[in-house]
Amino acid sequence: MRAKTITDLLRKGDRIGVSNITGREANKVTAITQRYANNIVGGWALGKGGHKIVIEKNVSIPVFSDYGELLENLPQKKWPNKIIIYSPPDAVYGDLKNVVNTSAETVETIFIITENVSIEVSSKIHYLCKEKNIDVLGCNTLGIINVIDHVRVGAVGGDQPEETFHPGSATIISNSGNMVNTMATYLYGAGIGVRFGISTGKDQLILTPLKDIMELVQNDKKTKVVILYIEPGGLYEQIALQWMKEINFSKPIIVYIGGTIADETNLSLGHAGAVAEGKGTRAKEKIELFDNYLNFPPYVRGKPLSRTIKPTRGLRIQALHDLPDAARALYNSLQIERDYKHYRPLKLNPWLKNMGKLAKKLPPKLVLSDGVIPSPYKKRFKNILKTHFGKITTLRNMKNASHASSNDGKSPCIYGKSVIDLMTNKSLEHILILYWTGYPPSRNFETELVKQTLVAAFTNGPGTISAQGAKLSASAGNDPHTAMIATLATIGSVHGGNGGKAACFLMDIFANSNLTDPYSSEAKKIVIKAAADYVKKLSKIKQISKETDIPFKKVPCLGHPVYRNESVNYDPREQVLTQYLEKNNIYHAFFDFYHELATNMQKEGITGNVLAVNIDAAIACVWLGICWPLICEKKMTIARAKKIPFLAFALGRAAGGAAEYLDHTDYGSLMDMRVPVSECENLNML
């Protein structure tokens, strides 16, 4: 090998060039690597010359059309000494040949990330690079990471390399890229950090065999222990172990060998090279080889290591989760100082669980105790909960499916509850809450509030647009359902739709608060603060509005005074609801907020009098009170909670429209809603 120490493979100050840098994978990984290591000087991709990989504002990686153009444009001191190949399989050989023939003197190592490179090309790459004294890792390597120097090539460590790789004394060499990352996580739990993480790739030919890497590790003073993940296929380990015996290899190893299941079957494992193709290549044979080299029984969890015979050559583990325990035991036995003082034994730590009814059937050993979401994930979960207010649903074809209704052959059901039982035992309001929210009322008084809002929505007199709709339809000689449709067709975002706006308004105000139970008097503090904050904001907006002459947006459902000249206005229907709450000593955060708002607005001079909270707001408050805990528990979407208040108004008003229809058809004459021509005004266009 050209490299003489492991740091020759990758160190701080290396200059990386990236082939096919604009590809899906390369593009993403390169940007993360640059933020972590800042070691990429440029890349190339056919037809993409002149592009840039933007890392952050004012920082980018130049993209050239080909490798030659990269050399022409970069100053010589920036010419890459390491190349990472992301080219598609059929282009790997051409790209590599170009690099090798152009830059044999500057390029020291080539990392081939590409998968599905043919075995013939792999072999040719080996010959070509050997002749030019260039080291090759791959094909199908994930890359390597030099943790102490804080540099990497490839994707080792994913998008958060620091999260997994903490500087330390163990060098990981793995046939699986994922296992580099995974084993580093387990080791850190045992207080052991990583010196180097190396993914060898596991194609049929591994172009930097284990022996070559072990030679480099042998010369590395900072590596105290070597961790190996090995799969079937190839004689790499046999050759390495023979050499290690001959030179009396100085570092202890911990090895895990996977893939024994493939020994006796035709089972095709995940990696192309994990195939037992002859004597010495099977997993069991590799286990024998390592046991023979280690001359120490395999590690058994919970069993202390012998005090008389030391595992000087290391340990073989039989389960991956034995790694931290075995590593700690090895470090202690050989008196190697661990890199970190902490020790977190591995255990089942469920982040989220809901075993439902099954939990009651499980024996104690299968019952999972509550887990703890560790840092930094805990914070990310919190952020998501904040960002994603309410339930998020998965969309599907609903043509013949419904959560709301079903029929079990005995009875129609509403959210699984038999309509027969509901008819017998529950009120209309109870059933309505169940049908619209998916859950029965959580408090008894909710049904009374819903009843009052429904009745309040029935009518506001024959002159209202919606009542007129029904009367017009009756006057035209339509059927009853058409009159109801006419009523529904004449309510909208302005007439009745304000309830929906009020629900949106309240949700915006309280979404980021700690309000979980709107009926708890403890919510009072939150409400007072929210109202005060909002009034302050309104005051500023009003000031700006005055200066700029731009009208400011009004609070929905406020300022619809029935008794306009009174200092305190109110809507008598809303008052019925408020008085019911007061009489029954029920605190309601949303009603309280609206009243606080109206009062504070008058106090702050935003309005001349205390504005009325109208019935649309009251309907919104009632239904949002019912929905709020469900939203907080992510049992209900916010879209549903926003729609319900308007539906409540529409339901009441449709009943009201029906009443107008009945009345009109009994006493009215056909066409009596017609406006005589004489009363119509003809407006001329200017």
Partner: protein, 412 residues
């Protein structure tokens, strides 16, 4: 899975093209008269099944026949033979070549040299593992220069091959190399070459494997025959899906298990998980590796195929991988969750316990998506992060499955 090449394909297509001498042969079905004509020319013949399974000789699937009547009966029988889980496509009859010399040759790639190697032995006709190290020679071949007759001759000389046979065998071996390298193979074996009284080397049995990643094998110049395979519909559909795109992996091996449905990520993790499941009686339905950062549509398609074929019968669903470097967990988990939701009807309302473990980019978003779907389905679940080892999660899942199985058998 790389494409295997049978002896019959070699006899019909490859040997003539590369001037490799072979015995005369006739493919079943054939007219009685034609078979009778063969026996007029040949002293005797061997009936063989055309099947992509090794060890035909050991398994007694090749029979010496001396008459047309025997040949027809044997060919009929062998044409529907099943061996090592594989089915015969047809059968054929080859001329028997009498000889005093049988030579073994194989060309393959070797991890010791990182190059092609040729192995030759003058003790051919038996399994290579039965030939002692002293009786065979393995030499690396320069991939750029190839193998020439002088090198082949040197190897034969070192094996003490009689002088008169060196040239014909060396020429035959070089032709074999030409076929190997120009058609994109990863291994080929002729065992044995039978040397005729006229000192001609005749290839009397053959097997080879193409390297599917090698562009040369994509258009071999003839149509490769399709072999009836008794692989499951699931594996067949997934194999088709796997080759339909290079993005992400969609690798499965059907294990015909009845217990745990494993959606696994990463070659290493999938090996460890399946091994742990098997050793803990988890009865995995198949081995899978769906890593390689598949985009949403690809992952959705992969998961949908798994669920379409296996969800109805699964006892536990295991979605597990190590701490991903590259694979986006938010995208892959959302895709799996959506596919699960779309196929949940296959359970006919029966809940399915789901165990999940993963780490990597976009983990929290991915886990949240999975949780939402499982909540919506009202299925029991436990979701682990990257600090809980995959092997522990696997052991727990196997124990859970075994307990549920006991519970169900008690109920039954």
């Amino acid at each position: 899975m790389n494409q295997q090449i049978s002896e019959l394909t070699f006899l019909k297509q490859l040997a003539p093209r590369f001037a490799i001498l072979t015995p005369e042969f006739i493919e079943w079905p054939s007219q009685r008269q034609k078979i009778q004509d063969c026996f007029k020319k040949w002293p005797s013949a061997i009936a063989k099944p055309d099947i992509l399974a090794g060890g035909r000789g050991k398994a007694g699937a090749m029979e010496m026949v001396d008459t047309a009547r025997d040949a027809i009966q044997t060919l009929q029988r062998l044409s529907s033979l099943e061996l090592k889980g594989r089915m015969a496509r047809t059968s054929y009859l080859v001329e028997f070549i009498p000889t005093n010399y049988e030579v073994y040759t194989a060309i393959t790639y070797d991890s010791r040299y990182l190059s092609p190697v040729i192995t030759i032995s003058l003790k051919g006709g038996v399994d290579v593992e039965q030939i002692t190290e002293a009786e065979k020679k393995t030499f690396p071949i320069d991939i750029y220069k190839g193998l020439d007759v002088y090198q082949a001759g040197d190897i034969l000389r070192s094996l003490k091959c009689p002088d008169k046979l060196i040239s014909p065998i060396a020429r035959a071996v070089v032709n074999l190399w030409d076929m190997f390298i120009t058609s994109g193979m990863q291994m080929c074996e002729v065992n044995p070459w039978r040397i005729t009284a006229e000192n001609k080397a005749v290839a009397c049995d053959f097997k080879a494997v193409y390297d599917n990643a090698n562009f040369k094998q994509r258009n071999p110049g003839f149509e490769l025959p399709e072999y009836p395979e008794n692989i499951s519909e699931f594996e067949e559909e997934m194999n088709r899906w796997n080759v339909s795109s290079y993005q992400g992996q969609a690798h499965v091996s059907d294990l015909n298990g009845k217990g745990i449905l494993p959606i696994l990520f990463g070659g290493g993790a999938s090996t460890i998980v399946i091994e742990t499941l098997i050793y803990n009686n988890g009865d995995p339905m198949f081995l899978s590796d769906f890593g390689g950062n598949p985009p949403y549509k690809r992952m959705y398609g992969t998961a949908s195929i798994c669920f379409k074929h296996k969800l109805a019968d699964a006892k536990v669903l295991l979605i597990l991988g190590g701490k991903a470097n590259n694979t986006r967990i938010d995208i892959t988990f959302q895709a799996i969750a959506d596919a699960l939701f779309a196929n949940a009807y296959l359970r006919n309302g029966k809940e399915l316990p789901v165990i999940v473990g993963r780490g990597g980019p976009g983990l929290v978003l991915g886990v949240s998506a999975m949780q939402r779907t499982l909540d919506e389905l009202c299925w029991p679940y436990a979701i682990f992060g990257p600090e809980t080892p995959i092997s522990m999660v696997t052991q727990y899942t196997a124990e859970l499955y075994n307990y549920l199985r006991t519970l169900n058998s008690k109920k039954a």
